[in-house]
Symmetry: C2
Subunit: 410 residues, 2 copies
């Protein structure tokens, strides 16, 4: 492991100063090679699919695992789109001249060696590799074991392309020991690894956070709320709530709990019930809610639960303060929304809610690199530091100060 990581660290120097045109040429070759070798990838993917079937993977997981010509073409296209992004390295983030004439420039640079731990979708392998490469970072990839064969095929093709271009294949590699022990070692190697990005279930993220000495940017859960304020436009509120819950319930920016002002509860809850019934959403409400509409009981535990399913809990509150207090207590700091036409309520919500993304009159589903216009997405950080919320390719850089003097001493 140490030798492998040492090679990765050494390779990072090559990539850190590589020009954009060269990086883009290599990315296009990688995209072409993925398409040209799609038969090989599909062959390996079949092993994973058979294994998945034997192990009784759910149909959703099997679908995430599955690759065919068209999905591989999409993977290649994603790599080309990453090549087309604006060069993330060398951006001048700030600059000034000190009183004694030192010219200081704060410039974006690659982070170095980045370990990405993810689950079963094999397209993440090429996406993550391309994002790291474009941003000048060495990628150490650790995908789900369900996709091991597919990932090996994809990484093999990428590494062959790197070698054809005269580059060290250590620039993009799969973690050789993909076991939990392998991960446990990786996350302690702060001498060689500069950042770990774990994307996956709570258990994985907790394990990484508790054991890592390498800095971690988590991609954790989202327990998102939509709060319908008494001054909301009812039609808009219903549309936003249904979209936040139902458009794709299994993702981290979907709403889990709807918070409704008492003043409007009797009027709007029946409207909401009809709209959610049309989407076959299971509703669980607090006592006040259940006096107005006929739904199951939401327990204390419900309000702490990220359903990731077409289930919704509803809480009725006595106005903005109680809504903010509820979200502060149960929210995960991911995405929170208020629906209101009241200016002061909107401003208070925006300022007092501590979350990566705080919305007025829009669906929480927009918390996403694509929706934010970042082009390609590394993920959605639930860290407070380094990167928060949707992570674009620029978030795979750090900075250094370049200081230009003319003989200055202190």
């Amino acid at each position: 492991m140490q030798k492998y990581l040492k090679e990765a660290k050494e390779a990072s120097a090559v990539l850190a100063t590589m020009r954009g045109d060269k990086k883009n040429r290599v990315l296009h070759k990688i995209a072409d090679a993925l398409e040209k070798n799609s038969a090989l990838i599909i062959e390996h993917n079949r092993f994973d699919m058979q294994e998945g079937e034997r192990n009784g993977l759910s149909s959703a997981l099997m679908d995430r695992l599955f690759l065919d010509e068209s999905r591989i073409a999409s993977m290649a296209q994603a790599v080309r789109e990453i090549a087309a992004l604006k060069e993330p390295v060398g951006r001048v983030l700030d600059g000034w001249v000190t009183d004694n004439g030192l010219r200081i420039e704060k410039v974006s640079i690659p982070i170095g060696v980045v370990g990405i731990i993810y689950e079963s979708r094999p397209n993440v392998t090429s996406d993550a590799a391309a994002l790291c490469f474009k941003s000048g970072n060495v990628a150490i990839l650790k995908g789900g074991k369900e996709a091991q064969q597919s990932n090996e095929a994809i990484a093999g093709i990428i590494q062959k392309t790197l070698e054809e271009e005269g580059l060290p294949k250590a620039l993009i590699s799969l973690l050789p020991d993909a076991s939990r022990e392998g991960v446990a070692k990786l996350i302690k190697m702060d001498e060689y690894v500069d950042l770990i990005i774990p994307r996956g279930g709570e258990a994985l993220i907790r394990f990484v956070n508790e054991n890592a000495t390498v800095p971690v940017v988590k991609h954790d859960k989202g327990l998102c709320h939509t709060y319908i304020h008494e001054k909301a436009d009812f039609d808009e509120a219903v549309k936003i709530a249904v979209n936040a819950k139902c458009q794709r319930p299994g993702v981290c920016n979907a709403m889990e709990t709807l918070v409704v002002d008492r003043a409007i509860a009797a009027d709007i809850l029946p409207m909401l019930k009809r709209a959610f019934d049309a989407e076959s959403t299971e509703i669980r409400g607090d006592d006040t809610t259940r006096k107005i509409i006929d739904v199951e009981t939401a327990t204390e535990e419900d309000f702490y639960t990220e359903y990731l399913a077409n289930i919704l809990s509803i809480r009725v509150v006595d106005g903005l303060d109680e809504a903010i207090a509820h979200i502060r207590k149960y929210g995960s700091g991911h995405s929170e929304a208020i629906v209101t036409d009241d200016h002061k309520a909107a401003e208070r919500f925006l300022n007092e809610i501590d979350a990566a993304c705080v919305y007025v009159n829009a669906s929480t589903r927009f918390t996403d690199g694509g929706a934010f216009g970042f082009g390609a997405e590394v993920g959605i950080s639930t860290n407070k530091l380094h990167a928060r919320g949707p992570m674009g390719i620029n978030d795979l850089t750090t900075y250094k100060y370049k200081i230009y003097g003319e003989g200055q001493i202190r």
Copy 2:
């Protein structure tokens, strides 16, 4: 500990949205209270001094510990200067409108609860408290045990002022259990604490880094180099080298190793020797150096050593590539300088050296919040992420996205 930290977390909501004028008024009252109660602080400081004498603290440490009227006036003045800094919260860092009309603003916000672990200078207690307060962060302070009485007096005065202003004293407090076990608990409380900043010896920093689940911004060692390129102006090079080593040898941005091009070694080393002799600097050189000037031997270990003393190691190299390789191997990524009049050499050094601060023709001693013009300094981060190099008050903030919609759904 949990109850204490829970109070800190709850208090953070009060401070996060406090207006700048209110924060500044409180800071001025704190400054006034420190001066008004200087007799009380000095009384407590005498206990620490007596204890220090009994325990045989070095005279340097005793000096760092010592407080009198004038030093307390400086502490108060530093608090007032922090109050005068530009408001760090609410800066719009970026902003744009998406194609579907969402208006997105990236806005600076406080980090939340910040734990700062530092050594024996009691003025750091008021500095750190004021920096955290001004940036809207709850401060949990853990100073050196040598200064415990002084710190308690200072923190007590600050807390009394907070209470007089109707604010929770949990906003600024000393960690109640200041033992190693107390620190060990604190750094695992990621539910309540958002950032730990350890400033101090390598052992402390390693302990924190290995055991923390809270994100850490380290203030670690600086093994800084100055590289005299063959195209350097000799007089300028000697002045910069002497300043980088001798102006204040005990600090992290002082030079430890001088790297000299072989082509000029025979000419410049005798000049350097004379200049360093005048500063009573002990020089240790590699074999080539020792053939030219009469100095002790620099071993492999020397090149890994942060002397923090008036000792210098010298290495002769075969040009830029070898210089970069040497610094890459032995440097700590803090501050590195090249002295040259060659444009391409300067650019290559600036781009290829991975350090927080990379200098051309200036002393590494400028790596400092004050010298950078940040006004007050949190410290000098040796992290690669969140904050790198001199940390100003803005580095005590993170950000959130405010998204203004008009009913947008996906």
